[in-house]
Symmetry: D3
Subunit: 63 residues, 6 copies
């Protein structure tokens, strides 16, 4: 605690490492709590499991 | 935002498409916000990861 | 289960009633599960607790 | 981590204390992880923010 | 409802069964609600999807 | 989407503003998605609603 839960698209290992570090650093600074209290969880969701505006991401035309 | 997170059993693609459309339409109407603000996420959980009344769904007798 | 969690702005009672009914009806139809299995939770978030694009909703210019 | 998030009706302090202790003890035993890793969060939801079967809890007839 | 969502490491079937039973029993006792109202969901997260103190669990030195 | 949900202690307005900006900037960089896709939600939890190691934060001895 605090816990920080991401629901986003899949990430590779280097991306998770970078994002966890950056978000934890920002949270430590703002909450004023020690780093070991910060828990980050990445939920990786495939494009067919997310919709924006009622349209699944997998149904979007490729640009 | 709003975000709408489903935790339920697995769905096929047509089911996700239908549910995302219906829920987004209802939310747009009630919140009075434009469709692109609506995010729907489906978390699909296998029967061994959900319990009702303390019993895992995979342990339920088949009817 | 399924559980359906909304994180959005505050709603009045009539809005919650309408949205819960519509979403539950859609979910019953798509999941093929009985209505009493459907749980809807509304988390109401004040504008200063939500940011889109890094900007808190309470900081947005009024249109 | 693990984090354990409850979405339920309001609880008084003694109830929160009892439930946090019992759930943490069970989780420590099953996960095999030390107690300080266990985070429990109680989201307290008023009856008008929860629906079961499409009906808000505040609309249920009193028994 | 109540819904109880775990975000933790993977568990085997026997662990899920034991944890669901213990947590549901504790919740039934404290909330004073019948067992069928209690829904438990296990989100299993691989070590590369969780960070504590900014460090991914998969990057921790083995002890 | 992505949505980023914080469950932590209460924050003042300046803290929310700073944390939303920093986290969104980090997420934009790592996900490679435009800022308006990023939604941050702060759930503020009073000390009696959070337990670490089975102990409510409000029960901790003051240091």
């Amino acid at each position: 605690m605090p816990s920080i839960i991401f629901d986003g698209p899949p990430l590779d290992l280097a991306q998770k490492r970078a994002l966890a570090q950056a978000v934890t650093a920002a949270a430590v600074k703002v909450y004023g709590l020690p780093p070991p209290t910060m828990v980050v969880v990445f939920h990786e969701n495939p494009p067919e499991n997310v919709a924006v505006g009622g349209e699944l991401l997998c149904d979007r035309p490729k640009s």
